[in-house]
Symmetry: C2
Subunit: 218 residues, 2 copies
Amino acid sequence: MKIQVVQNVLRANDAIAAASREHFNKLGLPVLNFISAPGSGKTALLERTLECLKAKRCAVLVGDLATSRDAERLGRHCENVVQINTGKGCHLDAAQIEAGLKNIPVDQLDWLFIENVGNMVCPVDFDLGEHGKVALISTVEGEDKPVKYPTLFQKATCVVLTKVDLAAVSGFDRDQFYRELRQVNSDVPVIEVSSRTGENFDAWLAWLEQFRLAVRQP
Amino acid sequence: MKIQVVQNVLRANDAIAAASREHFNKLGLPVLNFISAPGSGKTALLERTLECLKAKRCAVLVGDLATSRDAERLGRHCENVVQINTGKGCHLDAAQIEAGLKNIPVDQLDWLFIENVGNMVCPVDFDLGEHGKVALISTVEGEDKPVKYPTLFQKATCVVLTKVDLAAVSGFDRDQFYRELRQVNSDVPVIEVSSRTGENFDAWLAWLEQFRLAVRQP
């Protein structure tokens, strides 16, 4: 009974997501869904990314249980930011994305970024119509997360290892991280960055541009 | 329809949890449910806590989507450790706790600790029969989490601020943290610790002992 209902909810979500994706494809608009635990640095990554992409037209939909904090931070770098408050909801769903886009000029954008609710588990199952999922993990969370929370890393299009400026001080074991991540996903690209110092942002921006072009010219 | 089913699931969970709590009360066995984001340091806190509580008889039930990593770490300090793998499940439920206790001599314990799945949202709604919820937040996650994920902090019996040895290097704003936490929960006790250095563990152990005595002699 519970399983049946959950399946129905997912099916309804997937139908909306499929329609959104078709719309994004027609526009040639690349859409990325950023997923991680709370505090891995999704907002910080997007802040610096928006700053670097000044020449591009971007929009961000950002989910949190409460407050408009993240939208306020992102709004300093981008005109089109919509905060979605989920109340007790542990993930964004496709209908929330559809509604969130109502006031955004999607036909005039180069990028749509979705910052999901901070949660490594539930957001993974909900397709939002995106073209790829970016999984973030910070060095201070510990190297063992890919094997303990494998579903996110299995489905990720790109893994961003954040807060590399804190790797040494937090005792992050880089070898173990890569060895175990490869058990879960043998070929996902990994980009190590510090959103605070800007370390390695060139590689991240290059990945984004390559991804954008692949969506635009399929 | 979805809401109805979710309510039924919660009702069934709460019935099992209530029976467990009655059993724990009869035994005078204090039970704490540790909840936080992945990587906040639940396992590290429990490792050092078990080490400090050597004179006490402890058991730990620990939840993760996959692997027995945490049970292996905790098993070095404690005989009675059970890993519960939830697969895609985003929280522990009362039936899993009931099943997990089958091979543990609960009538011979001074403490039962439950380490929930790393998730700041979903575990909050599922009563496991515990006497209190310990909410962990690490300094490296950022000071804004209490207002962005308020439900956990509203229901917490105690807040443990972890990784205080990394507070300075991560730019943690202690004043903002306390000011905003107090908006969400005006009187929950907060204990700042480093499980790596042992900083302030005296205060944490004192809180635990006071809590244990309150459950034993209600």
